[in-house]
Assembly symmetry: C2
Homo-oligomer: 213 residues x 2
Amino acid sequence: MPFIYEYPHPAVATDIAVFTLRRGALNVLLIERGAAPYLGAWALPGGFLQPDEELDQCARRELLEETGVDADLLMQFATFSAPDRDPRERVISVAYLALLASDELRLEASTDAAQARWFPIGDLPELAFDHDTILRRAFEVLGSRARQISPLFALLPARFTLSQLQGAYEAVTGEDAEKRNFRKTVATLGCVRETDDFAHGAHRPARLYEPVV
Amino acid sequence: MPFIYEYPHPAVATDIAVFTLRRGALNVLLIERGAAPYLGAWALPGGFLQPDEELDQCARRELLEETGVDADLLMQFATFSAPDRDPRERVISVAYLALLASDELRLEASTDAAQARWFPIGDLPELAFDHDTILRRAFEVLGSRARQISPLFALLPARFTLSQLQGAYEAVTGEDAEKRNFRKTVATLGCVRETDDFAHGAHRPARLYEPVV
DNA sequence: CTGACTTAGTGTGTGATTAACACTTAGCAG
DNA sequence: CTGCTAAGTGTTAATCACACACTAAGTCAG
């Protein structure tokens, strides 16, 4: 008899940390749990892997089901395995990270989730399970990736101003950037292309840029 | 009835890509499978997660059991979930990366593994399961981490010459480094401390260095 | 209509870092 | 003691990162 059957299998799930920008600040998407355990507590969206489903699909599906948000770019960043992290039974959780532009967002809680809400990262509630640990790790990974600029496009609309891009950079890394140097860097990287259109606000219009393929 | 019980659980396993330097070249540790499926094929060491065991422990234990090698520093880098990656039943594999100095190595195959052997990365056999994919990813991750120099210490003896360190750097990244610039970088990073001892070979003895705490 | 305000947008000089280059030194082997 | 081989070391040129201040263009209030 193969070794594979000797032990009971753990459940496998995904948890997703979705970040967006709201009023210039980085926010995380949390759901209020609609079932035990941790009924009523806030948690990362996520759920169990189905047969014949890849982890990436599972993360996307669970996010959509629980929050109404569809993220096409999910990044797996760690797997958590503490034996008692779920009181029901053993659950291995594969954690994902996603970035979304806030205008794509219409939150719709599902049956599993009493509600879905954005929380500024500086003002988080107590979280269910080990989701505080998962979220801390997600935030570290996000900060280190953001220095390559292009991951930030996912936080912005399809066309954006350089000031918006810089704002996203500052919100994610937590560091202030110098305007001219930031623009020089972006130009050197060649990761954006200017368009002929301008964003009109209360002051001088700003040229709109778009990501390069 | 909670959602958690609705579906059968997959098995969860770890697979470990252990790298070392042998005669200046990067090598990977593989085992010859001693059981079906893929009986007789080469594969990464690894095995199934036991109850109440963390993934990190599982990786270390499996590596020790199957090859006699004890690695205290294992780095989790990705989780693989293709539904048909194991023909027996569904297996989710959490992949780990380890670096070892070649003088720590005494290979001992176990019952599961017919034998354990080092393979130069340029001369790999066909691999069982999706282990070629896992290994490719491991190699990418390794290359990107090696630029920080300090991960390379794990590939070298406790005390080493700067030429050895440079050799490790070149073997892992695949790029040649310029001797004086490499030494300058290492000095600037401050990640090594010189000792009073020298390595005596066929020519001028080279000063030995050790990692800074 | 106009003036004040606010954000958009641009260039330069300086210091730091990186990259490219060749020769001297010390031990070993014959 | 001579020749070989790897160890070890400084300098220069180019590039990159950073700090810095002003002009431009539109909105809004009066």
